[in-house]
Homo-oligomer: 368 residues x 3
């Protein structure tokens, strides 16, 4: 059967499926002229991934994918898994267990990029071992990690856990989650938190703590979401406390967002399963007598990187998106964002660091 | 069905096919000894590509391929496409619409490398959007591009168009084409045009304009070709005018070639479709009672990089090739070239810059 | 049919199979504290490979695989092959014909890493042409190579040959082999021989000749092995003589090992075919009513890098491993090693260079 690419199955539990995705982004970033930032037009092959996944008799499985966007190689998932009953064990490199927004595939987000805090707080895939327990409406996940294989360290490590409760009440899917993360950085190293204005085709980060010495990070987050017919909503908050050897007080930074979405097309609903959002499958796709699904979304995206003497700046982002999925595996997305910054790192000619940046971005996407 | 690799099809318009090619080159380059160039024996994994292509219901498709020759990663095609009737729209990275020789796959060329001007004038894949219209004997192509994703710039851009008329007269396939290209380089940057002697396993470019400041390039080309039974012929000319901010006159460089080929084996003919040469499928392949197809080709390859005060040198190349295709997806190629240079960049001990370089190259190739 | 991944076949001799492997290693290295080496805990994505192989009508075939571990790209095999009767010709990049241990896939070794001399003496894949003749119990292999495509040189070259006699005596598979290798290094360059303590997740090489000028290497090796029911054994010796332009005498270094293994699980035996060890297929796999195969192995691993005035150090390694294969395509391995060094390159605080290093390593592996 085709799931974008063909999934080939064999007797006894064998399966194999090629995987891939292409995302092409373009748009504009407009900051106050005198900051000499923003740059106007930009474009980017955002993701260009190719990989495979499969199952084997006995409960074993694998998922292995690389990203080659801009002809730079990065391994994304490299997972050996074993499933027995309600428990799955994973070894290799994969996403750590934190944040509904982060764990939702980049194919299925409502905006061109995820909420600001996920990048700002360096959510990346790391090498380690994880365990997932799922039964009915409850899911518990936990793992121990070293670092991303691109910069594999034997000195840094982290442990994290996530709990999700996802009851269905009538026709409404609810989602409640919480996550805790502890990470010890390599001795003598520093941390830095910073973020771009919504789109990835600019390299200007208007808010940025700069590097500072740290020993460890302790983080916790809360997640809430619902899917009800054409509507969905999500809200998350995430706090990062940094243990700093040199400073009088340890700063706690915050990021979070709230979003609401609605399908203009009848019969369409946002996919959800396994503690994260999934694929939207248009009720009436192009090629099957329809025009696909059309969804509008609004989001407020907050990031506060100023605390305890560190002035990294704050962002209040107001975003609108229009997501058109002609078919299950294709997407066109347009979004506009207005980012109100305080204490931005690039001052205007008059020394002002409180200003707005406007961004507009479109994405063409196919996956298989 | 197998087309090198299996093409898997599903109901409703689904298809999926892995893709790949391996090319191993070896040979000799002999320049006058006192130039200290040429280097004698050389060898190279010329191309090592792996990728996928597929179709989806609703008219969508993709092609995604990477080249890993010499363990360097380069994305070649990364295309999201949509086809409706006679029109196809493409987004991503792909070959710009210029030159029969450039658009013909590197699997199906008559010589080990394409005509000198295609490299010299920096024909590369670029990120952008393209439209193709094809109906009957006419094809029209146009696109707007930024740059190759390896060095993606938001400052350079180009636009180009190509028209092809390809009537079949009796048993003879004719091809007439024309192309126009305008490219604005990134402000403050330079251009350079240069070329190796036929083979890629040497790094010596005997003709070379060196870097010089430029604002834009305007180029136009003409194409002619025929395929008639065992014979085929092709001739192209391409002019590049460079808008230079610093020089009194803007130089116009020229490249072009004329080739003639003939199959020694009965029943063989050169593939042609969609405005470019295609795959040769031997009438009597190895493994099916035959020896495959054997073709001889002769080419004159001209490149003139001297104009308006820039002395990049000129090349008059005389090439012969023997192409043996044991089967549809395998090839062995041998070719000899004599390159007469004027104003070459490497003088001999006596200061002479007008001399000949001899090259001999063989290729082993498989694709799927 | 599934061989890890599905092998797709077509009429006339077509076949196609995706290929891949993931290996995740972790463990400890303990050296005397005052050497400031060893580093304690380490972990590593040892191999992350993806590729394809296939056959074509007429006797042609290909194998093409890349390794992306740690997000570094390296092409492993890139082979175009042609088979006619008992003879196979290969062109591209592949393993040179030397050492049972080296030619046995990294999926099927008895320990986490191969014998010390295989790395120390720089056994790598190289670009070239090879011929293999196999008939009955005899196999003869020979090839001419340039270098690995990652650093492809047109100045270095090597030629090598290997002969294997592999009779079956009753139920016992015997293996006898010999290999000769001559390699000319690029003019003006140096060689260096060194090795880690058993595991790859440390970068400390305790024995190391350092770089020294060389013109060529002449090497020869002998191989012996048997597989008999649950038992297997192997012993190899390999001598490398270095032609040095600057030294009074040319050094000859030596490496070798002897190993013995036994399956604790009934009905299991070590795979062997084509002059090398193959895949262990558990008689009673997980998911089919069994626990898979469990094997214990012991090895002595010798490497002597001191001769003719060069004091690179010597290693006497004593290793034990436990190899658990739950299923044909999955493996968990644990091994312990004690490495007695003489003339190690990292002295202790008291200047001692004769000491022991302990290592413990585990591996999780899946392939397809």
């Amino acid at each position: 059967a085709f799931k974008g690419a063909p999934e080939i199955k064999g007797k006894g539990g064998w399966s194999f499926k090629p995987r891939g995705r292409l995302q092409y982004d373009a748009g504009f970033v407009n900051a106050p002229d005198s900051t000499n930032r923003g740059g106007g037009f930009g474009n980017d092959i955002r993701r260009a991934r190719l990989g495979v996944s499969g199952d084997m008799p006995g409960g074993f499985g694998y998922k292995f994918e690389v990203d080659v966007a801009n002809s730079d190689l990065a391994v994304t998932d490299a997972i050996i898994s074993y499933e027995a009953g309600d428990v799955e064990i994973m070894v290799g490199q994969f996403n750590n267990f934190q944040s509904l927004e982060e764990l939702t595939s980049s194919l299925h987000t409502s905006f061109i990029e995820r909420a600001a805090y996920t990048d700002a707080f360096n959510f990346i895939r790391r090498v380690g071992i994880g365990v997932e327990y799922g039964s009915g409406d409850v899911m518990v996940q936990g793992g121990i990690f070293t670092d991303n294989m691109d910069r594999l360290s034997n000195d840094a490590w982290s442990a994290n856990g996530r709990v999700v409760y996802m009851p269905k009440v009538g026709d409404t899917q609810l989602h409640f989650g919480g996550t805790v993360n502890y990470r010890e950085v390599a001795p003598g190293s520093t941390v830095r938190y910073r973020q771009r204005p919504l789109v990835a085709f600019t390299s200007d980060r208007f808010i940025n703590t700069g590097n500072f010495a740290a020993e460890s990070e302790f983080s916790y987050g809360v997640e809430g979401a619902f899917v009800s017919g054409r509507f969905h909503g999500a809200v998350e908050g995430y706090w990062r406390n940094v243990n700093t050897p040199m400073m009088a007080a340890d700063p706690t930074f915050f990021g979070g967002y709230a979003e609401l979405g609605y399908y203009l097309t009848k019969g369409d609903t946002r996919g959800y399963s396994g503690g994260k959002f999934g694929r939207t499958k248009p009720a009436n796709a192009v090629g099957a007598g329809g025009i696909g699904s059309v969804q509008i979304n609004a989001r407020y995206d907050r990031l506060d990187l100023s605390d305890a003497g560190i002035i990294g700046g704050t962002q209040n982002g107001y975003f609108l998106s229009l997501v058109w999925k002609p078919t299950d595996y294709t997407m066109l997305l347009a979004n506009y964002g207005k980012l109100d910054y305080s204490n931005a790192v690039f001052p205007t000619a008059t020394g002002d660091t409180d200003y707005s940046v406007d961004v507009f971005g479109v994405r063409a996407q196919i996956d298989f």
